[in-house]
């Protein structure tokens, strides 16, 4: 999913936004989604993030991460309320509370929190060039190795997605039996249930995990072959934006953080 967003980098104001200011906003929104504020208010903040993503990345790109986590969200919705049945009952059978208001609110809170965190990370990673990301981390005085690891880890997300698609294609071509088939990346799934798809994805995910683990030593080899580990100072081909851009984007980020803080204080 993010691979496709990467392909369009530089196209929107969010893409052009200074990564240092963007990092500040990322942290602010992450803290926000973990605050114990009213569910309705959390939902409003999530709506803001979704609207921003829709405006800058388009509707289909915005829905893509939500589709990806949808099975988890459904499981949270189904499994959380039965374990939290305190408070006033919404549904009771023979005096036994099956669904309570607090259980429902907790499930909603978890869903909003998880969706919000996913969306802000998606926006951040999908609109920031990995090279700028490293430079940005280094600007925050993180050591190069740590910045590189963070950048590689974040950059591996689209790789995993591509790998998943390739492995899924390989599995389906190999195991295609009567009535099954793959077609163009995931478009031929008509008539198949959610649980069947989840069950089918387990061997694919296992294979992706095996391939990813196998990649660790070769990745380390590739890094050292390119000089990672040398003691001399590194130079940089890429550069961060100008000081003026940082001041402008930083001011916008600080203003946004101030708005968030005030809104949280006013509407806890």
């Amino acid at each position: 999913m993010i691979a496709q967003v990467y392909g369009k980098r530089g196209a929107s104001a969010v893409h052009r936004y200074d990564p240092r200011a963007k990092t500040l906003l990322l942290l602010a929104f992450l803290v926000l989604f973990f605050l114990p504020i009213a569910v309705g208010h959390l939902a409003a903040y999530l709506a803001v993030v979704v609207l921003l993503s829709g405006a800058f990345l388009g509707l289909s790109n915005t829905l893509r991460p939500i589709r990806m986590i949808l099975p988890i969200l459904i499981l949270v919705m189904l499994l959380t309320p039965p374990f939290y049945r305190e408070g006033s009952a919404l549904l009771a059978v023979r005096g036994l509370t099956v669904l309570s208001v607090s259980g429902l609110l907790l499930a909603l809170r978890l869903i909003i929190r998880f969706t919000g965190i996913t969306m802000v990370f998606y926006l951040f990673i999908g609109t920031t060039d990995p090279d700028e990301l490293i430079l940005s981390f280094r600007w925050f005085r993180l050591p190069y190795t740590v910045s590189l690891i963070l950048s590689l880890a974040l950059g591996y997300i689209p790789t995993i997605r591509t790998l998943y698609d390739q492995v899924r294609d390989a599995h389906r071509l190999r195991l295609a039996a009567k009535g099954e088939g793959v077609g163009e990346a995931g478009v031929h799934r008509r008539g198949r249930g959610l649980f069947k798809r989840l069950r089918e994805s387990i061997p694919v995910m296992t294979s992706v995990l095996i391939l990813s683990v196998r990649r660790i030593p070769t990745l380390a080899m590739a890094l050292e072959c390119r000089g990672v580990g040398r003691k001399n100072a590194r130079s940089s081909y890429h550069t961060l934006k100008t000081r003026a851009a940082l001041l402008r984007d930083g001011a916008i980020a600080l203003a946004a953080v101030a708005v968030l803080v005030i809104s949280v204080v006013l509407f806890p």
Partner: protein
């Protein structure tokens, strides 16, 4: 003090991989010796699984650092003792292009990929810009400068890795099967460049390329952990006999066979009525496919247009063409992994040819990806081969029988061997074994000869031919195509030439 005129000397090098649970330690080299002259291009020929990649990694300082194992002996580049250096300290001394390019690419853009090592060296930004522009220009990759390496074809990825080395320009170049998957023009250009620059180069290959005769100073043969020089005069009759005997060329290769003996070059329409001919398995007509921005990247638009292509049972078609000419795209269309924007593919359904939905193409076609690792996931050879058979409701005895037969046919290690510890070439054979057992009417082998000796690849084709379906193999090797295929189709910029 590092000399400017390096001379590679390998003396009494021995290496064995560590013992893994249930797997004995594997001894690869026992007292290996090799001397390379400064500034010369030398070739080390070895069949798959003889330790070419391991040798490259030893010389680059990667083994035993990342693999464990026992290493002894001495390796010097000029006065520099290579075995005592960490890989990152050898950046300007030894440059390695991995056999499997996907394992070496790190960056999200092609220019960042080339700049990465220069940044590690602390080269000033203006000089990085100059060097990377020159390297991308030399390898004809400028149009991909701001694109992700992921959108490149296998051959283009190797070109990008060569560009990375060009920018750093190390004193010793190690090219691990790098000529595989490169088109002939790029191969010549690369060898000419190395000769012009006077860089010491060791090319490791499982296959003989005619260009070696023109560019290589010396040819070495590695067998059973030992190296010997075999070709001071690569054009001689004795040398040809040796190549043939060791399986680095096919009979008739390496000589001027003459056009008359070559297979027909065709657009796939030899004249018979395909609808009525029961041998016709597949016909593709007016196929058009175009990658969007997400596929090949903006500024790198690519379209494939196939007017007519016909495949008959028992026939072998080879698809050749330069890097990025659309060979793999054609393969992915024919197996239904890509959907054409227009045109149709008809396949034989009983007595007639009928348009095929992509799901039907999935079941009709077996497609061996260029990268075998995307199709090999399970812990043992047996489990890998048995997986497809388990879906056919066969008894365990029958599954075992078929797996054992396939292991023997393809010369695979025993069923309990772990694929992750097998060499690239053997993994390619395993991938072929997996698809052989599926018995699909059409098989497509994408760059299957990469990492295999020509004998091994010819044997693979012979095995598939017995299944009497149609077979397509995609290759850069025109001589191999001419030698093994009944028909050859050449793609140029997305169309049949």
């Amino acid at each position: 003090m590092i000399p400017t005129d390096p001379h590679l000397s390998i003396r009494n090098l021995s290496f064995s991989y560590p013992e893994y649970s249930g797997i004995a330690a594997r001894h690869l080299f026992g007292g290996l010796n090799l001397e390379l002259s400064a500034g010369s291009i030398d070739v080390l020929l070895a069949r798959p699984d003889q330790g070419k990649t391991t040798l490259c990694r030893v010389l680059s300082g990667l083994i035993p650092r990342f693999s464990g194992g026992q290493l002894s002996g001495e390796v010097r580049l000029g006065n520099l003792r290579l075995l005592e250096q960490d890989p990152y300290e050898l950046l300007e001394q030894v440059g390695l292009v991995f056999q499997h390019p996907g394992e070496q690419l790190l960056a999200s853009r092609c220019d960042s990929e080339v700049a990465f090592a220069l940044e590690s060296l602390g080269v000033p930004r203006s000089e990085i810009e100059t060097r990377l522009a020159a390297a991308l220009h030399t390898m004809d990759l400028e149009r991909y400068r701001r694109q992700s390496p992921k959108i490149l074809s296998g051959g283009e990825k190797k070109k990008l890795l060569v560009a990375c080395l060009l920018a750093v320009d190390p004193r010793l170049w190690l090219l691990d099967e790098t000529l595989e998957e490169l088109d002939s023009g790029t191969k010549r250009q690369l060898l000419q460049l190395l000769r012009d620059r006077g860089r010491s180069t060791l090319i490791l290959s499982a296959k003989w390329h005619d260009l070696f005769r023109e560019f290589a100073n010396r040819i070495f043969l590695m067998e059973d952990g030992r190296i010997r020089a075999v070709g001071e005069r690569p054009g001689s009759r004795d040398f040809q006999r040796l190549l043939l005997k060791r399986g680095f060329v096919l009979p008739g290769e390496g000589r001027n066979t003459g056009k008359a003996s070559l297979p027909e070059r065709t657009s796939g329409s030899p004249g018979r009525s395909e609808s009525t001919d029961p041998k016709t398995l597949l016909v593709a007509e007016d196929l058009y496919f175009r990658y969007g921005e997400e596929g090949r990247g903006a500024g790198a638009a690519f379209a494939l247009q196939i007017d007519h292509l016909r495949l008959d049972a028992g026939r072998i078609l080879s698809v050749v063409g330069d890097n990025g000419s659309g060979k793999s795209t054609l393969g992915r269309l024919l197996c239904g992994l890509l959907r054409p924007e227009s045109g149709q593919i008809r396949i034989r359904k009983g007595e007639v040819l009928q348009p095929a939905a992509v799901e039907e193409l999935n079941r009709f076609t077996g497609y061996l990806f260029q990268d075998p690792d995307l199709q090999i996931f399970l812990p043992t050879v047996f489990e890998e081969l048995a997986l497809g058979l388990k879906h056919l409701n066969l008894s365990m005895e029958e599954i075992r029988r078929r797996v054992e037969e396939t292991v023997s046919l393809f010369g695979l290690p025993a069923g309990e061997a772990p694929p992750s510890l097998m060499s690239y070439g053997i993994r390619k054979k395993l991938q072929a074994g997996v698809y052989y057992l599926l018995e699909r009417p059409l098989m497509i082998i994408d760059e299957g000869d990469s990492g295999l000796s020509v004998n091994d690849f010819a044997e693979m084709i012979r095995i598939f031919r017995k299944q009497e379906g149609a077979l397509i193999f995609i290759t850069h090797d025109h001589r191999l195509a001419d030698a093994l295929a009944d028909e050859v189709v050449e793609l140029k910029s997305g169309s049949i030439a």
